[in-house]
């Protein structure tokens, strides 16, 4: 049986990863991810985790090394944040094109400049088109559960793609939370051993990462797109299975008091918890407000999103990153295009919030609702605004 413990979320995640019996990890320190690397190396040093912990000299090499080890047939893990993720950027589409099941935690943090170590989503957003499955955790338990499930999704024979588990830096990574850590037996029962399609072993020599010109390139891109689209089915299955075994189930899009809501807010990551409190407050005042939480960023859950917002008049999309000179925050553009062809869709508002660790109180969420509710002429629909900016 699993046990309920109070742990810093990074430590809980590292414990969860160890329960997955990884063969190899390559991690480079960066705040706020470092505690994952440190705790994993502690587990190896104490003989509790039988894995090669490669103390790489950069995140570029961390990703390169886990690519190499995964290609050799090992179950691999890495974790990073912000600048580290930007340094890995070059390799992310290569990992997915090579169909390597790599699991990576991203302790989401603002990207420089100016340098900032606190939370937002400007690190993961530029990785959107890398061909990685991307999921967002809202609390410590989710970070643990989604990390273990990530291995099973990534390694599924119909998926074979890398997965990033996004965990908000500090707000989530550094919280001490009560989490239920499954037992080794439970994880073993859930997660079968990794069976790779092909490996770098002389018993059956293969060429990986070949060079391709225009004759095959488009086909390879299409194949990758099909692969990530098809992963949807497996993601749903694996999360359901998790639910059946552990009693906590996950969905690509989750809602809170949304069924009869006139006005909805959409969040991704840990801010959903604060938004929930704001919703309760608004409900108390008679406002029919609700919450939509986007857990799965890639592959994008079109059907679930459409279903979740279909009855609302207004939808407030919160973004934790900026698309400079673009049509609004990256999540906003995505939601707008997802709903574009709907005959009936809510008017969509966009707030860019919580950049570089800017605190977001319950009153801030209530404030956004108030503003949008007051916009009777819908003058601000389809536009974006930086919330709480000092001008």
């Amino acid at each position: 049986m699993g046990k309920r413990v109070g742990l810093e979320v990074t430590v809980a995640v590292a414990e969860a990863v160890a329960l997955c019996r990884i063969d190899m990890a390559g991690v480079y320190p960066i705040t706020p991810q470092s505690h994952i690397a440190e705790h994993l190396s502690n587990l190896v040093a104490d003989g509790k985790l039988d894995a090669e912990f490669v103390t790489v000299e950069s995140e570029h090499s961390a990703m390169s090394a886990v690519i190499g080890a995964a290609a050799a047939g090992a179950r691999v893990y890495t974790a990073t944040s912000s600048q580290g993720l930007m340094l890995m950027h070059e390799l992310l589409p290569i990992a997915s094109a090579m169909r390597l099941p790599i699991t990576m935690a991203i302790a989401n943090r603002a990207v420089s400049g100016p340098l900032n170590i606190l939370n937002d989503h400007s690190d993961i957003m530029p990785q959107r088109d890398a061909g990685w499955i991307a999921v967002f955790a809202e609390n410590g338990q989710e970070a643990v559960d989604l990390s273990i499930a990530a291995f099973k999704i990534a390694e599924h024979k119909d998926v074979m793609l890398p997965v990033s588990v996004n965990i908000d830096g500090f707000q989530l990574t550094h919280m001490v939370e009560p989490v239920i850590l499954p037992s080794q037996e439970e994880v073993d029962a859930f997660l079968p051993p990794f069976v790779p399609h092909a490996t770098l072993h002389p018993s059956n020599p293969v060429t990986m990462g070949a060079f391709s010109m225009s004759d095959y390139f488009t086909e390879i891109m299409k194949a990758k797109d099909e692969a990530i689209k098809n992963s949807r089915k497996v993601i749903l299955e694996v999360w359901d299975e998790w639910g059946r075994q552990f009693g906590r189930s996950y969905k690509p899009v989750e809602t809170y008091r949304a069924e009869d809501a006139d006005i909805l807010m959409l969040t991704m990551g840990s801010m959903g918890e604060t938004a929930k409190i704001a919703i309760d407050e608004l409900r108390g005042k008679g406002v029919r407000a609700g919450l939509v939480k986007l857990r799965l960023w890639r592959p994008f859950p079109f059907a679930e999103l459409k279903a979740a917002v279909k009855n609302a008049q207004k939808l407030i999309v919160t973004d934790r990153a900026v698309s400079f000179g673009g049509p609004g925050g990256p999540v906003f553009s995505e939601i707008k295009s997802a709903l574009f062809a709907q005959a009936r869709r809510p008017s969509i508002y966009n707030y860019i919030i919580g950049l570089g660790g800017r605190d977001m109180a319950v009153s801030d969420f209530v404030g956004m609702f108030d503003q949008v509710l007051a916009d009777r002429a819908q003058a601000k629909a389809d536009t974006y605004e930086f919330w709480g900016v000092r001008e």
Binding site: A72, H201, S212
Partner: protein, 312 residues
């Protein structure tokens, strides 16, 4: 009997007949870099995994859906061959220890050109060597970024004309001395560092065999004549390599646990640099005075090296 001069006689007995790097690759005719890769495979045998950087050797050998590799091979990017190799090594080590693959010794090799090694890849290489992975790293040095059109690298020799450091009215080509990569590797205090040239196939193979038997990191720097980039006749690639060695431009030596040893193939007396420069278009613009200055440096560097080799 001189082995190299009677090579056809000796080769079948001394060199692995099995071709692990097949013909049909797309390298230019007379490419000594691809010859080196082929010899490396012969020396290391089947139980080898290669992680290659982007560059000529990757492009010519892996055009999808064909491959020239009969051993497991992976390419990921330009600057990370050493890091990928270190991951392959760590992965195989873990799987072998846990009994998930058969208990057989596999040598992992990281390889890149001079650009992929000495410039953009030096950090990943330094990291992998410092961490002590059980792997061989090979730099196939053709003294420029050939794959992308003969741009200069830090391995381009002084005075050579390249497309980004061309000779012109106000320039004599490369303005910097070649980075001494083997010495940088020696400074990492790894068990084995060696220089090789495929014009000396037996020395070449012996050094690779030695590196294969070392449990830990080793570095081999391979002088690889590139007729296309050097503007030299393709049929002279092997003799050009010999001239580089005979003039002391590229001395053959090895460093085992810090101890230097010159290869027995090194001549007692060096030939003048001009004999090596003359057939190459990339040096054609150099004046006598410029060649003299380079000659002085080559001699001095060579003497420095032989001094180190004296104190065995």
């Amino acid at each position: 009997m001189n082995i190299v001069e009677n090579f056809d006689l000796f080769a079948p007995r001394l060199i692995n007949k099995k071709e692990l790097f097949s013909c049909g690759h797309r390298a230019c005719s007379g490419c000594a870099e691809v010859l080196s890769v082929r010899l490396m495979c012969k020396a290391l045998g089947d139980d080898t995994v290669v992680a290659s950087a982007t560059g000529c050797m990757e492009i010519v050998s892996s055009m999808f859906p064909t491959t020239a590799w009969r051993i497991p091979w992976i390419h990921v990017a330009f600057e990370n061959a050493a890091a990928v190799a270190s991951g392959v090594e760590a992965g195989l080590k873990a799987l072998r220890k846990k009994g998930k693959i058969d208990d057989r010794y596999i040598k992992v090799v990281g390889m890149a050109g001079d650009g992929g090694t000495m410039d953009i890849g030096i950090q990943a290489l330094s990291g992998a060597m410092e961490r002590g992975h059980d792997m061989i790293y090979v730099c196939f040095d053709n003294e420029a970024y050939m794959n992308t059109g003969i741009q200069r690298s830090s391995g381009t020799p002084m005075g050579a004309s390249t497309t980004t450091a061309p000779a012109g009215k106000a320039s004599s080509g490369q303005k910097t001395w070649k980075k001494n990569m083997p010495e940088i590797m020696v400074a990492h205090e790894i068990p084995y560092v060696a220089t090789v040239c495929p014009s000396y196939p037996l020395d070449f193979i012996r050094k690779f065999e030695k590196a294969r038997n070392i449990k830990g990191p080793s570095y081999i720097h391979c002088f690889s004549v590139c007729p296309t980039g050097w503007r030299s006749p393709s049929e002279t690639a092997v003799s050009m390599g010999r001239l580089a060695v005979e003039t002391g431009v590229f001395p053959l030596f090895e460093v085992e646990s810090g101890h230097y040893r010159m290869s027995p193939d090194m001549p007692k007396k060096l030939k003048p640099l001009r004999s090596y420069f003359k057939p190459q278009g990339r040096f054609r613009h150099l004046t006598d005075a410029e060649i003299d200055a380079i000659q002085e440096r080559v001699t001095a560097e060579f003497n420095k090296l032989t001094q180190k080799a004296k104190f065995l």
